[in-house]
Structure formats: C-alpha cells, structure tokens
Symmetry: D3
Subunit: 291 residues, 6 copies
C-alpha cells in the first residue's frame, strides 16, 4: 500500500473546493491561446509536455479544449536560416509570397505538428488544423503595403464542433484564406478571440509570459485580478494598454462581447497555472468579465 503522505483533512478540503468547479465546467468549451514564446524559451520540450498534460486533464474531466497557437520566434528562425531579409514598413514586417510560404510551413508544419505530437503521446487526442481546413477561417487583406497579412472576416466553427463532439482537441494554426484560395498570415490572439466567440465558449484563456494586465503599465504591482470589458476598452482608448498586449486585450473584449463568459490572461510559465486557475478558489492573472 502506498504511504499516505498527504494530510487527509487537507485533501478533503481541497476536494470540496475543486469538485464543484469540475462539475461546473463539465461539458463546456474553452479556447486556449498558447503563445509561441512559451515554446521558444528555455526547456521547450518540458514546457510543452506540461502544457499537453494540462490539456489532456481538462479533457479527462469533461471540458472540451480548443488550442490556438502562434509562432513568431520560430518563423523568424526559419527566415534567418534561408537568409530571407524582410522589408519593414512602420516597423512591421512585410509578408511577401515567399515569407508567407515560409511562415505557413513553420506554423502548420512545425509548431502545430509539435503541439499535436506532444498531445498525442497521451492517445489519439488531438488533430491539427489550419484556418484553411474546411474554410475554418476566412480572411482578407489588411493593408496591401504589408503583403499577405490578413484580418479575420468570418469563422465557420463546423469542423471544430464536430471534432470536439468526437472527443478530439483541435489545435489551430492561424493561417486563413479568402474565397479565391489565397492564404494569409493572421494574428493568433485575434483569431483566438474570434474562435471563442464563434464557439460561444465558456472561457478564452491566454497563456502568456506575463502575470496579467496592469492598471499602470510601469507598475508590476498593479496587475488587475478582475476587470470589466468596458474598463478595458477605456484603457485601450486612453493608451493605458499598449504594445503586444493590445491584440490580447482586444481579443478578450471581442470574445466577452460575443458571448464568452470569461476571458483570462495568465502567466503560462508557472507550471500548471491553467489547472490552478480553473479549479481552485485562488485565481491567478487577470479575469475579464462582461460588466
């Protein structure tokens, strides 16, 4: 018999705390944006394996996770390897046809495959998708000076709901296409918001490398535990939110305005932050609510 290392009372207390969350979330869909930085940093395989374990556990307790990922650092790496020098306009990289081709290869054929592979060590759990599959993400050109960078025009969640109903975790690379079949690279945060809204998800969760949204960008102590959509929109308007946080913040607003109950921005570098956030009273990061 295994030695019982844990205090039974403490375990009972935690169970009493945890089980109602499990009950509450059973049957719900959660969209989880997994940042490219998480994959690129330090011990990439360990972090990815821990993430995969968390996703498999969500599924085990009846939650349907949908994973969306980026891949900026990995794209930069391949561009460097082929010696592709990008043109920049106003500080933004211009995506010409060759860049798009290479980015698509990295997102669909590298980052997506790596995540799917890490999940499927646990069984036939995950299927990788690009936004081009079954016309999942329809996009159009954002700005012709930026090349093949797209904006989401619509999301057709049919293929997602089918896979989810079969117990499959869809893992989505954020390439979209237009009616003529032209592909575009699209911001993954934005896609996450649109997909969460289209699925009428219970939650949209950003696993990033920051602890949440700060009321004052310059003050690490000002991280917000909870914020309403309207306050968040005001922060964007006033410039209080800026930089790389903008697409995440906007995606949270899109999602919650579109029917998602809660959006979260967490520090995904803390091991199992996702589980702790979902299943215990003590939240981590910032939660965005309707009002």
């Amino acid at each position: 018999m295994t030695t019982n290392r844990r205090d039974p009372q403490q375990a009972a207390d935690l169970l009493i705390e945890v089980l109602p969350y499990i009950r509450h979330f059973a049957g719900s869909v959660m969209v989880i944006k997994y940042g490219g930085n998480a994959l690129a940093g330090g011990d990439e395989n360990t972090a990815l394996a821990a993430f995969a374990q968390d996703i498999v556990m969500l599924q085990a307790v009846g939650i349907s996770p949908v994973v969306i990922h980026g891949g900026g650092p990995q794209i930069a790496e391949l561009l460097a390897k082929v010696g592709k020098v990008s043109e920049f306009r106003d500080g933004l990289r211009v995506t010409d046809a060759e860049t798009l081709d290479l980015a698509r290869m990295v997102l669909v054929g590298k980052v997506n495959s790596d995540i799917v592979g890490a999940l499927n060590v646990h069984g036939p759990v995950a299927v990788g998708l690009s936004g081009e599959d079954a016309n999942l993400i329809t996009a159009d050109l954002r700005d012709k000076d930026l090349g093949f960078v797209g904006d989401v025009t619509s999301v057709d969640p049919t293929i997602l709901t089918r896979l989810v109903s079969q117990g499959i975790v869809p893992v989505i690379a954020t390439i979209g296409s237009d009616a003529a079949g032209q592909a575009y690279n699209i911001n993954a945060d934005t896609v996450a918001g649109a997909v969460a809204a289209a699925l009428n998800a219970e939650k949209l969760i950003f696993l990033t490398d920051v602890p949440g949204i700060r009321a004052d960008m310059n003050n690490p102590e000002s991280t917000l535990a909870q914020v309403s959509v309207s306050d968040l929109e005001a922060m964007v308007a006033s410039g209080a939110a800026s930089g790389g946080m903008i697409p995440k913040v906007e995606a949270c607003c899109t999602a919650v305005r579109g029917g998602v109950r809660r959006a979260h921005i967490l520090d995904g570098t803390t091991p199992h932050a996702l589980l702790v956030e979902l299943f215990t009273d003590g939240g981590v990061g910032t939660m965005v609510v309707d009002s």
Copy 2:
C-alpha cells in the same frame, strides 16, 4: 477577488493527483452502503448532510452512485415506541408480521425518505426505492423460526440502470418480496453485495463506523490496507472474521467474485472519507481485490 489562501504549487500537485482518478472513474457505477449507525449517532443531520454532499459530488464528476441503507437502530426505536416486545431465538429477533410491518415503515418511510430528502436539497437528484419496486429484489424465507427474514434470491437491476442512465441516484431500502407478494426484511450488507454484482459496479463501498478489516480482531493496529478475496474467505472459515463484520465481508466477496472491480470498507464517520478514498493516492480503510 478572493484572497488565495492556498499555496498554488500545493494545489497544482493535488490537482495532478486527483484529476486522473476523476478521469478514470467517470461513467462508472458505485454502490455505497450507508450504515444505519451513521444516521443514528450524535449529530445525525450534519452527518447525513455531509454524506449527501459527497454523493452529489460523485455524481457531479460523472460517477453514478447507488445508495443502499439499513436502519437497525431506527427500527428498534419504533418497536420500543409501540411497546412491541420481540421474541428472540438463538439471540436473533423473530420478525413476526407486525414487526415486519413496522420495520418496513421505518426503512421505506423514514430512513429512506430522510436520505432522499437530504440528497434532493441539491436538486431532483434522488429517488427512493424499496426492493419491492419493479421486483428489484426477490427474496425467500431464510428460516421459518425467524419469521419474515429473507435471503436474496435474485436482483433485477433494470429499474436501477434506467434511473442511473437518467442521472438519478437510486436509494434502496432492503425490503424484498417473493412471487406471491409477501415482503421480507433482508440484511442490507448482503443486498449491497448482490446489487453491486448485478450492476457489474466499479466499486462496492461500505461506510461503517470502523476503520477497516483487522487481520487480528483484537489488534486495532492490524487493520489491512488491501486483502484478496481468497484470503478473506480463509479468514471467515478460520473464524478470524466474526460478528457483525461477517455480512460485510461476505458481501465484499460476493461482489468481487461477481465482477465488481474493488470493494472497500471505510470509516464513514471521518468527514468526506469517501472522497479522499476515491480521489487521492492515499487510501483509507480496507480494499478487497480479486486475487
């Protein structure tokens, strides 16, 4: 925002421990024998409310509990109240027609209703059954000198599987009947074993007021963590198990021989012992396995 009183790492560790059990047990049927003593003692309502909370939680995470109960102390109480003096043979109470009538009233109309009532505070969760309902338990006379005391001849689990498939917790009072409609009072431990086998349950769990089975009756330190059916049968044969523990031990053997994966005898007076046993690595009480 709620203050996070718990160490996140500790919570993460427990979640990693707990979630696989939840995954493993989802969809399984568990038969839980709830002893009359548990109801009769000290703060009865508090104990019953805690038990009801545990059962509702099992159901919340996808387990289908089936509750079986006795009611010895409560029957004695009513007999005393009506001034019924029982005849005893070899130390066993003779169940004449009036005693049967009173026992049935207590089991079906008092103990069963109390348990159902406590569960249904949480919603339309439970339905009370007697073994007479839909011919659930067919019985015949054990020994005519003992009066209307019955042995189980067969269990028809149809009504149980139907209720369970509709998300209902059946709560069973252990009155059975024969083909002519004659009712019998039956030992609740024995019924629990037969019902668990008929349902091909994942587990049969006895919530008693002792910590488990002792290798040496007289040595409280000798409680067994795990024991095989064959060792247990040997203990009964040798007299190492005796007294009120015999029906429980025999029911465990019946159940496991009949296809139930595990049987457990736990101290149900420890708060939430049921949850700790099911969902953590550290077990409590005695687990009976096939071999």
Copy 3:
C-alpha cells in the same frame, strides 16, 4: 376445447362496443386516486387485488395509469398504537414533527408498499414514489397552527413521464417537501388534481366509496351523471358541495381547467367499476367536463 358458455352474438356486440374505447384510450395517461378507505375496509386484500388487476389491465391495453393514494385510517391506527394523542384546532388535527414522521412512515412505508406489492405480483409493473422523490411535489406550509400540513406549490412530472415511458406504473404517496428539505403531509385529492394537470392526463378518476356527486347532498337519488366545471364551482360557492367531497370536487376542477379532458368520481367498491366506466357505453358515477 373449452365449452363456449357465452352467446357469440352477445360477445360480438360487446366487442364492437368495447374495442373503440380501447382504441381511443390507447397511449393516454390516466391518474387514478385510490382512497385509503377502500384499503382499510372489510376484506382489504381482496379489494386491493381486484384494484391491482384492473390497473394491470389498463396498462395491458396501452393506457398509462398513475396511481395516487391517501391513508387516513392507517395513519390513525399507528398514532393510536404509539399512544400519540393529537391536538386539534378547529376540528383539524395538528401535525407536529412526530405525527409527520409517523404519517410519512405509514403512507410511504405501509400503504404505498402494499399497493406496489399487490401490483408487482403481476410482474415488474409498479414503482412506489413519494413526493420527495426527484422533487416530484414541492410544497409549503399551509397554516403554521396546523403544523406540517402542506399545500402543493408545484409538480415536476419528469420522473413520472420517464417511468411511464418505460411501462412502469408510478404509485405516489402524497408527502411533499420544500426547498430546505422539510417534509409536509398533503391532501391526496389535491395532489391527484395537480398531478393530472401536470401530466396533461386524459382522465382523472377518483375511486371513492360514494356513487358520485349529488345535486342535493341529502338526496341519494340526485347523483349527477355529468356536470360542467362551472356548475361544480357554483356548487362549491353556494355550499351545495361540502365536507370531504370538497377536495375531490376542487381537484376535478383544477384538473379539467388545467387541460385534463375528463374527471370522474366513481364508487370503487363495485368490483371492476373502473373497467366498466372506461370501456362501455354505460358509465357509472359522475363525469366532470370542461363546459
């Protein structure tokens, strides 16, 4: 070959009369209130067996019977046996906690079990329910001076329709409970009317020990064959209906106003009165119609 004692022409005539009724009622739900007096009187077992045979026959020809019963005489008997002396207010018995407990034991654990047992001699036909099961009957306090006597606040027929769809006859003891799990004793006639309406039943039938409703209480010759709901309401208002007949009359009105096609008050002491009423042109008792 069996001797043919019956005149074939006569049999053909009756078949031609009976079969259309059987066709008409196939698939319908009928709520039948079986009075406690019927059970308490004379040769109780014979009367109960005949009632059980009629119910099983209804089911055999495709009707779904739902049985509701009282148990006044049986409750009085147990109260006497335990030496419980009731307080009375305005001639009504005050139901204190002990009385409620004893009444519940009798209704759920004695009368209900007896009826279920008599039905199940014919196969796994019946399941006993109390209003506490699956929150079937929600009640609240009628008048705090009367103790735990309840009024129906709502009926959740889910468990009934499920059992009925599985070919089970629900037999209902009229204990209800409130959201806190407090039980109440409720008038069985009133429950019968509310359940019939909740099930949108084809018929509500009271099997009593009187031949029907009299236009003039004092004139046995004035029994009405048919009466409209509005005339009946007028009779209650004018005092033409009174006493123990009031709850039955009101329940008939509730049921028919709530969508039940017909309500009937019959003398259940005539053997097989139920079958004769349902399947032949010659009705017995009083039929209540919409207008």
Copy 4:
C-alpha cells in the same frame, strides 16, 4: 347521459375475459385470407363493410393485420362478359395470356381495390399490393399445360414489414412474377400460408364459408375444434381431406411448420366471427396447432 342497457356485472365479466387477449395479441402480425366467395355472395357490400370494420378494430388494439384475397367468382364473371371460353385440362381451367391479363385486372383492379376502398372509409388505413410489387411474390410455372398458373418460389416480406411498421394494412392480390417479369396467377390460399410463414405471424386465419375442418367429410357434426399439423397431414395423405379444402389445409400446415403459432379456419359469414374467435374464450371453427 346514455341509458345503461347492459348489466354492469356481465360487462365486467366479459372485459375481464377480453382484455387479456388484447394484451396478449398486441404487437402481433395476423395474416387473414378473405375468400372471394364472401365478396361475391348476397349482400356483398354489407359483408365487406363488416369485414373492414373488424380489420380496423384489430389494428386499433395493436394487432397488425395483413389481408390476402382471392377472386375466383369475379374472374369468371369478367371472362363471361368478354365472351372468353376457357379450355379445361383435367377439369382445370387453362390460363392463356388473355385469361391471365383479365384475371390480373379483376384481382388487382377490382377485388383488391374494393377491399382497400372499404377499409379506407375508416381513414388512410390500407394499401393494395400485388405480388408483383417490390418483388413480394416470386413464382414460376406450375405446369405448362395449364398456362400462366404459378407456384410460389419465394416471398420477400420487406415491403409488408415496412408498411405494417407504419400502421398500414397491406391487402394482397395473389399475382406473382418471375425474374423475367412474367406474371402468374397463384392460388390465394397457398400464398396466405407462405406469407404467414415469411412474416413469422402469430396467426393465419382463413375466413371461409364453412364452419371448419371435418374429421369425416360427410358428417357436419364432426367439425374439429383443434387439430395438430401431423394429424392434418395424415388426413390429407389418407384422403380424409379433399377438394377445395386441400389448399387451405396445406397452407395451414406450411404456416405452422414455418413458425406461425396458430392457424384457424372459420366461417366468415357469421358476423364478427373474427373478433369472437380472437378475443373470447369460446373459439369458433378449427384451430391448427404445432403438435
């Protein structure tokens, strides 16, 4: 209120007798051969209307009737009308192509349509079929000297079971066809036996103009109430059964040997003989049983 002309006790007695039969036969399939003579004689429309009423009642109480008919007298009538003089061989009419065409017109377009029409006065109850429909009856040539007279080679009951499952009464004209599409006229009694066996029917019933099978052809008093298949086969072998009764007797044997529980030969000219036979203890005619 309708005056109750019938003695309630008598009605109750008959109901107690009738209802178990209705219960027993609910859900079963019965194949009923309706003879051409019944249609041709005296007040044809009245007899047909009474037959239609009986069939509709069977269906109303959950029995699935399948009707098979002949039409010998009606064929003879049309042949006479067109002045067709038939050749005879060994006393049997030779069916040449023109005769077949005329016979088919009468069976499919006259007798079948008349029966369907009489049934459908009661609602959309019946659909007429010929054995050519959906390859219901495959046949081949019996004897080339007799022309287009066929023997049943196989029955494909698919279309029958589909219609029956939709609450439709199939009415079958006994024309069959071979793989090349050639039609044949087939003995209706023989078809009835084969169809009853293919449907694994509860009963095969011949409605004829005689009271049953006689042990001694010449003695009207010798009508048998019940007879086994093997005794019947012996009667055919010994010549005790002969003439027009042979195909009926053989069809009864085929059916019962093929799994039909009971075959009956009744006098269909007695009003509602079918109902009296099926639903009362007093049978009429001859019942053929397995052994």
Copy 5:
C-alpha cells in the same frame, strides 16, 4: 481489356458536363407522367423497357422518381372487348358504374401492373398504387352528367414520402375516392400536377408524343424552349393552347405555382429523352419556369 472505342477527351468533356447535374439533382423528387399513348403504340414492350431503364438510372444516381400514368387507349380496348357502348355528352364519354369498374381494372390491374413489372425486372424497385391506397387522392364528382369522373380535392402524400424514403418508386394509377369510398376516374395529367405540388418536387416531367408547347399551334417550328407560368396562363386564356394539351399545361402551372421548380413537356418517344434532358446542357422540349 475492353477496347476503348470512345475518344477519352470527348468522354472527359461530357463527364465534366454531366456530373454537376447529377450532383445538383441528388436527393430530389421528380414526378414523371408517362402517357398511355407511349404504352399503346408500336413496340410497346421495347418502349416500356427503355422507360423502366431510365427510371432505374434516375434512382441509381440518387433521384427519387414518382411515376404517374394514364391509360386511355387501353380502357377503350377493354370497353370494345366487352361490347360496352358509351354514351357521350358534348363529346365526352359518360362514365357509368360499369365503365368506371372496367376503367379501374385497366388502370390499376393492367397498365399499372405492366409498368411495375417492367421496373421490377431490375430488382424490388417499384410499388403500384392507386389513388385509393392510404387515401392518396381524394376526389369528388366533376359533373353529374358525366358520371364517375372526378376532380382532385386533395392529395395526401404520406404514403409516397414513406415509400420514397425507402428507395421505392411509387407508380400511381389515377383513381381517386371520396369520403364515402366512392371511386372516380381522374385525368392523369391533373393528378400529376397536384402530386408534384404536394411533394414539393424538383421537377414535373410529361413524357408525351409531341416535342413541346408551340407558340402557334399550327406551326411545328414554333415549339418553345422555355416559357413562364404567366405567359402560359395567358396562352390558355387566349385560346392559343387548346385541346389535349390543356390539362398538361394547367398541371404545369399548378405544379410550378405550388412550389415545383421546373415543369417539362418532352417527346418521350425519343429514346432516353429523359436522361438527355436532365443531365446535359442541351435540353429538349419545353421547360416551364416560375417567371
């Protein structure tokens, strides 16, 4: 290996043309009126076999054909054979009871059976129906001076949709009946329009012996390729359409006004005209469209 007699490029071109039509029509219902003249003329069996082959092919590629037929020439033939001399009013044949009986025999028992037989050479494909079956066509008297000639009052397509859903081709003889069961002979073109509307068919197709509708009756060169319902109605009003073409034209209008997408009048004497019309860009005959 078969020699490839066909130019592959040509075959590829035709496939590219044909496959989209097959895709487009898959799952749709088409009502096809097959004229009695087609059956009566020249090599009747060859024409019928070719028609059957076309119908079976429609079904093979996922179209649900419903066939409706007339039988004027065949009725005249039987009337002549029995020596029945008809009375005429205003040039129209009076249908007395005997004539109706003979017409029904021919339509239901001859023409219908012949078509069903030709189809079922290909397998259990077709079932013959008369409008009397399952109350498919309800009719009433058109004009009492004309006898039992009926007008369609309603079409109950239930039996058609059931058979169609089971992969059966219904073949309909146009006899209808009223509520009392009286049969009527009805114009088959009219029935075809009403059935197509009741089924909300994709197409109604008349296979006739003329190439289509002429703008100028007297000019064979004026056959219209396409015409709108309103133009067609104007042609009827102005007398530009007349004679036997009137019921077809009116049926086309009824059908298209009732929701049928397209109606067609084709020359059915051209082999496989039906297939060429449906599956190639080059149409034949006249197509009637909504506007």
Copy 6:
C-alpha cells in the same frame, strides 16, 4: 436557351454507359495518391485546380475520396534554399533531425496546405491531416543509418472514417510518429496502400506521370491493362519491376491483399484521367486485381 452543340444520341449513349458506374461506386471510399511530381511540374496551379475539380466531382456523386500526397521535389527545394547538404548512404538520403523538421514543414505546411486550399475553393470540402493527427499513422525506425525514415506499423482510420462520414475529404501528409511522439518521414506510396487497406476501400488509385506498369520495363508498348496480384508479386521477385515503381507496385499488392477491390496506376498528367477511368468502359493505365 442554350444551343445544343452535342448530338443527343451520342449523349444518351454515354449516359447509359456512365450512370451504372456512378450507381456502382456511390457510397464507396477511394484512396487517391497524388504524386509530388504532378505538383512540381510545369503549370502547377492549373494541374492542381484540375485535380481539385475531379475530386470535388467524385464527392458530388457520392464517392468518398481520401487523398494522400508526397512532396519529394518540394522538400529538395527547401533543403537547397537553406543550404542543407545531405549525407547519402547507398544512394539514399540520410534524414537527420533538421532534415526531418524541414521535410515535415514542406509536406504538412506547404504541399498539404496547397492541396487543401485548392479543394476548398469549392466550399468547406477538405481537411488536411498529418499522420501525427489522432495517431493516424504509427511508425517506427526503418534503419538507424538512414535517420528518421519510418515504416508504417499501423493505421488507425478512426479520424478518416469520421471525417468521411461528415462529407469531408481528408488530405494526408505522410508523416508518422511512434509512441514517444517521435516523428518520421514515410514513403507516401506505402502509406497509400496501408490506408486503403485500413479503410477497406473500393479502390486505390495512383496518379503518376507514367501510363501504367510495363510487362517489359524497356518496352513502352508493353503497358499492362490488367494484372493480378500474384503476377505482380512474381514481377517484383524476378526484378521485372524495379526502381521508383516498386513502392507503388507493393502498395497495390498490400491494398488488394488487404481487401481493396481494385488498385490502379494511371497517368495523372492527362486531364481528368481519373474521371474517364472511373466512369467509362474504356479504362486507362493498369488495373491490379485479386487473382
């Protein structure tokens, strides 16, 4: 009205030829291997668009196509672009970790996405899969000297049958993985044979750039129209088949031995060769049959 440029008789003839094939293949699964060469050559986009059109047409007529592709030339192109110089052993390229990564990016993120994109111009038709998705292809190391080149150990067709049942065309990149999640590059011809067998496909079709299998490698006139599996196995054993044709030939044998009815090797550079082969009597290329 469109001018009818085609001879109607010729169209009818072709329809009569084509429709039975469409009927025959409706509901069947066909695995189509689309070679990387086809994509790499000349006017790549035009060839891909024509291929996509053919696949969409198959689907339109009820066939379920599953597409498998290679990408040799495209992999070579990216290796060249990043300046990766491969080591060779016995003339075979060694696949080190970086080469595998790049090959996977090309197959999954370039060739697969291009095919999916071309198909989805026609609607939400296709979903791209890698063998890593839902553990579709399990592989292990072929030869450690060759690096990450894998052999198929098993195919789990669950995800394919689900997508196919939803009307989706799966497009498969032939990367597999082992239980530890290690990816391997696998020969696409081999995968095609294994997938066709796992799906119990009607056909396996190789679209290559040669007209079929030659009896004599050096004689272009010796292309075989049909060959049995055993003859083909003898040709491999004798060395009559060699080089790049070996994996295709072996895959054909695997598939047919595994239950696939027919395997075909066609010249996919002829426009619409796939349609002509499937739907006309004149085949192209070589057909492999069981015996």
